[in-house]
């Protein structure tokens, strides 16, 4: 009988072997997948036990912090957002397993699960705490941007054209970030406040896109700022005639004048003459068709879009006359248009937008630097300088005079845009620009939804106030 006993033992031992393998599967192999499943209470609870790092603004304001509280004798951490509705969508929240904004992008660092930290924590050699993230947002500029958008729907982006670091990312309407962790359902949803319009909102760019067309006009060597155009009241295309804003008719004029007064017929002609290859080339160079490499989650891609898909920039079938004036399926994000303004300001060089300066451990040592990234030259420095002076004219005497900061002795370069819809009360008003024109420290893109006004009336003053504050802060 002993042989049977041994075999029975081996059979049961094999059963235990299977248990050991299966347990290993759940606790080691499949563990990460299980933790990421929505509704996993364990993950949400584990987050509460972590003394999450702070998010601090460039001007030293705490945007997010953790506070220890005792719940039923157990020490847990509560997330605090002391700045209320300031940059709410960009900072993001962490609650019930969902993470958005910077809380999402830098979760690995904020929750202390980078490098050797998880191992040290498991071995109880280190507290469960995360590193601090220093972002480039400036609360003062951010506040001015939100002030300019208050009561409206829209977005404003301000960045340093030299580095790509964002100074303000305002999306209106906004919400009280603290509510997102305390009582999520109490957030009023009217107007889509959770959407970060700066990187997720897709808008028709309207005439701001003429800055892109003008870039290629100069780069192609086919035009100079002084090239003459015949004017007129419409430009014929296979898709129907293109007319000027308000049905205006212009006499013969230069390229500079065409940009200054945003003359559709002339830019339609330029787009038509440049063709699909050249238009595609400049759009590629500015980053259209690619996801802007900003360190935020769920960033939308700008470009020619149809049914949620991004089409190639150089489609030979496209109507480049319409494309040149910002129509033809174009849908762009404010951050993409800020990249355009920034590149013109930065001698034609496109910088990747960045929201973070660095990640610092609790001990004060550098964990990660928010490296700047050069995305390439969209146009030559001399052409950028020529386009800058053309854009100065827009603000000095053209459609964008409301963006002028001549009262504080600063020259602003910019371009307005008004994307019209069938409903005259539902225009999208744009302004992109930078200042000071001769040595730029701030580039902006402002868009306001559902307005009866033009970009020059609705968006330009908001852009002016943001640039003014950014210049004041920069000293």
């Amino acid at each position: 009988m002993n042989r049977s006993i041994r075999r029975l033992y081996l059979t049961l031992a094999a059963g235990f072997g299977l248990l050991i393998l299966m347990l290993g599967y759940w606790q080691v192999v499949a563990a990460d997948g299980l933790k990421d499943r929505p509704g996993n209470e364990q993950t949400a609870q584990a987050d509460k036990l972590i003394d999450r790092g702070r998010i601090v603004s460039a001007d030293g304001k705490v945007l997010a912090a953790s506070r220890a509280v005792r719940v039923k004798g157990q020490k847990v951490f509560q997330r605090l957002y002391p700045q209320g509705d300031l940059a709410a969508q960009t900072i993001g929240y962490t609650s019930a397993g969902a993470k958005t904004g910077l809380e999402n992008t830098y979760d690995r660092y904020l929750s202390g699960s980078f490098g050797t930290q998880p191992l040290l924590q498991r071995l109880n050699l280190k507290e469960k705490d995360g590193a601090n993230v220093e972002v480039s947002l400036d609360t003062r500029v951010q506040a001015v941007a939100q002030q300019g958008l208050s009561g409206l729907r829209g977005a404003a982006v301000a960045l340093d054209p030299r580095t790509g670091h964002v100074i303000a990312l305002a999306s209106a309407p906004t919400f009280d970030l603290q509510l997102a962790v305390d009582d999520f359902d109490a957030i009023p949803r009217e107007g889509g406040p959770l959407l970060n319009r700066t990187v997720q909102g897709l808008y028709a760019p309207g005439s701001t896109f003429k800055a892109v067309t003008a870039s290629e006009a100069l780069e192609s060597g086919m035009y100079t700022p002084d090239s003459m155009f015949p004017g007129g009241s419409e430009f014929d295309t296979p898709g129907g005639p293109i007319r000027n804003f308000g049905g205006a008719t212009y006499g013969p004029h230069t390229l500079t004048t065409a940009l200054t007064f945003s003359i559709n017929t002339t830019f339609a002609q330029i787009g038509d003459e440049l063709g699909a290859d050249r238009m595609g080339e400049i759009m590629d160079a500015y980053g259209f068709g690619d996801r802007p490499p900003i360190d935020l989650p769920d960033v939308a891609t700008s470009g020619r879009r149809q049914d949620g898909k991004v089409l190639p920039n150089d489609d030979p079938d496209e109507d480049t006359a319409r494309l040149a004036i910002g129509q033809e399926k174009l849908a762009v994000t404010p951050v993409q248009m800020a990249m355009v303004a920034g590149a013109i300001a930065n001698q034609g060089r496109v910088m990747a937008p960045r929201s973070t300066i660095r990640v610092i451990s609790r001990g004060g040592s550098l964990v990660q630097r928010g490296e700047t990234e050069d995305l390439g030259q969209a146009m030559s420095p001399s052409n950028a300088a020529e386009l800058t002076s053309m854009m100065e004219d827009v603000v000095r005497e053209g459609t964008g005079t409301a963006a002028a900061l001549s009262s504080v002795g600063v020259t602003v370069a910019g371009k307005t845009g008004t994307a019209e819809s069938d409903d005259p009360n539902r225009n999208q008003a744009w302004f992109i620009g930078f200042a000071p024109a001769d040595d730029p420290v701030v580039a902006v893109a402002v868009v306001i939804e559902d307005t009866a006004e033009t970009g020059g009336v609705a968006a330009a003053p908001v852009a002016a106030s943001i640039m003014d504050e950014a210049l004041r802060v920069a000293g």
Binding site: M1, L8, M22, K35, Q42
Partner: protein, 456 residues
């Protein structure tokens, strides 16, 4: 040479220390300051194990050294984890451990030789079935299964647990009787070697009766356990895998039939195959168990530091202290701790089968093997269930799950194993043979071998 009991004591000490350290660890994670609450209970459990050790010294000094320390270790971790989930449940369980210890000592005292049980096989078998019948008639339905008998004061007894041990004793005695008949099939039925119906018939009737009762009680886990133990013991008695395979095939066919009839089983199988499809209702426990295990990871956060109890006092897996005890331990102590528990059970059954192999007579071998298989199969059934290796069936995890009946039964079971171990090592029961007898026996054996060679 260290005596078995001294070695046992040497192994009991680390088990006890581990239990106390575990209690301290939980207490430090739980409270702001020092919490003296669990100390008397912990010391009491320690005293119970020392009393069991002393009883072994007096009544079974030669018994296996490793069983009691391993049981002590599993019991200690179980109590610590229960204390972590709910101090009230742990206090309850500590009292049941004391009762179990008393029963353990009682078995040692009243049963100096387990072989007397062989004589009362039918009485014991009928008592086992009787306990199930009582449960069927007077039982209270909890969670859909009628397993519990209310004994007043809110306390319940799970008579099926006690029945389990009695039925193993009966099977050991009965199969030993019919062993030769089972081992030598007289005919073939559909190609399967089949022993005479006179030998197999009563066993099949008995099995059908207990299985039928369990189906009526709606307790699939216990039915599976009974069947597994029965097949294991048939295999031990006959040495023929064919019976086991035949039994499994019959069981699978039967399960397929039951699957369509008993909705509870269908649900269990569905939850096993696709737990995430109904993660908020039917699949809730299993999904929560897997989430907890994943969060525990390799090393685990430590005793008292995992998220097992919500702010309102409910456990993340509703049946955490009973069916899902293993989940609780493997979550807090991680994969390393979970494997440790599994190895603990492996040591337990290894010692049990060594005792069976060392036993002198067929009844003792069958009894020790059957009791050991009961523990091993029960552990595999419930642990396999909570980690989704097999469909979840509600049986307790021996020595660790919350539940008095389970603790008392398993302590009695260990006492029986230790008595068998002691008896086989003391040589009692085997007629003492002198030197002259031995020489005569050797001569006879040589004679037989010569005859065999001549025949060949």
């Amino acid at each position: 040479m260290i005596s078995p009991r001294t070695r046992e004591l040497a192994f009991l000490i680390p088990a006890g220390v581990l239990g106390l350290v575990g209690m301290a660890s939980v207490a430090s994670a739980r409270a702001d300051g020092f919490e003296p609450g669990p100390i008397p209970g912990a010391l009491g459990v320690l005293a119970v194990f020392l009393a069991m050790h002393v009883a072994l010294r007096l009544r079974a000094p030669l018994a296996d050294s490793y069983l009691l320390p391993t049981v002590g270790l599993l019991t200690a971790i179980g109590l610590v984890e229960l204390y972590r989930i709910s101090p009230d449940l742990a206090a309850d369980q500590a009292a049941w451990v004391a009762v179990g210890g008393a029963v353990f000592i009682g078995v040692l005292v009243v049963l100096p030789d387990h072989r007397v049980l062989e004589r009362y096989r039918y009485l014991i078998g009928l008592t086992g079935v009787g306990l199930l019948v009582i449960t069927m008639i007077f039982g209270t339905r909890i969670n859909g299964a009628r397993l519990w008998i209310e004994i007043g004061g809110g306390q319940t007894l799970q008579l099926g647990e006690f029945a389990k041990i009695l039925i193993v004793i009966f099977l050991a005695a009965y199969l030993r009787d019919k062993r030769e008949l089972l081992a030598v099939p007289t005919r073939r039925v559909m190609g399967v070697p089949t022993p005479p119906m006179s030998a197999l018939g009563p066993v099949l009737v008995f099995l059908a009766a207990s299985l039928g009762l369990v189906v009526v009680l709606n307790d699939f886990g216990t039915a599976l356990l009974f069947l597994g133990v029965f097949l294991a013991m048939i295999y031990l008695a006959s040495g023929r895998v064919a019976y086991t395979i035949f039994g499994l095939v019959v069981f699978l066919i039967g399960s397929a039939a039951v699957y369509t009839v008993v909705p509870r089983i269908e649900t269990r199988v569905q939850n096993w195959l696709t737990p995430f499809d109904d993660a908020q209702n039917q699949g809730f426990q299993l999904v929560q168990s897997l989430y907890a295990l994943a969060e525990g990871g390799v090393l685990g956060p430590g005793l008292g530091r995992a998220f097992l109890v919500r702010g309102d006092g409910s456990t993340v897996v509703p049946a955490l202290p009973t069916d899902f005890m293993f989940t609780a331990v493997a979550t807090e102590l991680g994969y390393i701790g979970g494997v440790g528990i599994l190895l603990g059970f492996l040591v337990l059954i290894q010692r049990g089968f060594v005792i069976a192999a060392q036993a002198n007579d067929g009844f003792s071998k069958l009894l020790a093997g059957g009791l050991t298989a009961t523990i091993g199969l029960q552990a595999i059934l419930i642990i396999g269930g909570v980690i989704r290796l097999i469909p979840l069936t509600g049986v307790t995890l021996p020595f660790m799950s919350y539940g008095g009946s389970s603790v008392v039964t398993n302590f009695a079971l260990i006492a029986l194993l230790l008595i068998i171990s002691h008896r086989s090592r003391s040589g009692a029961g085997v007629p003492r043979v002198g030197r002259r007898d031995r020489a005569a026996m050797a001569a006879a054996r040589r004679e037989r071998e010569r005859e065999r060679e001549a025949v060949a």
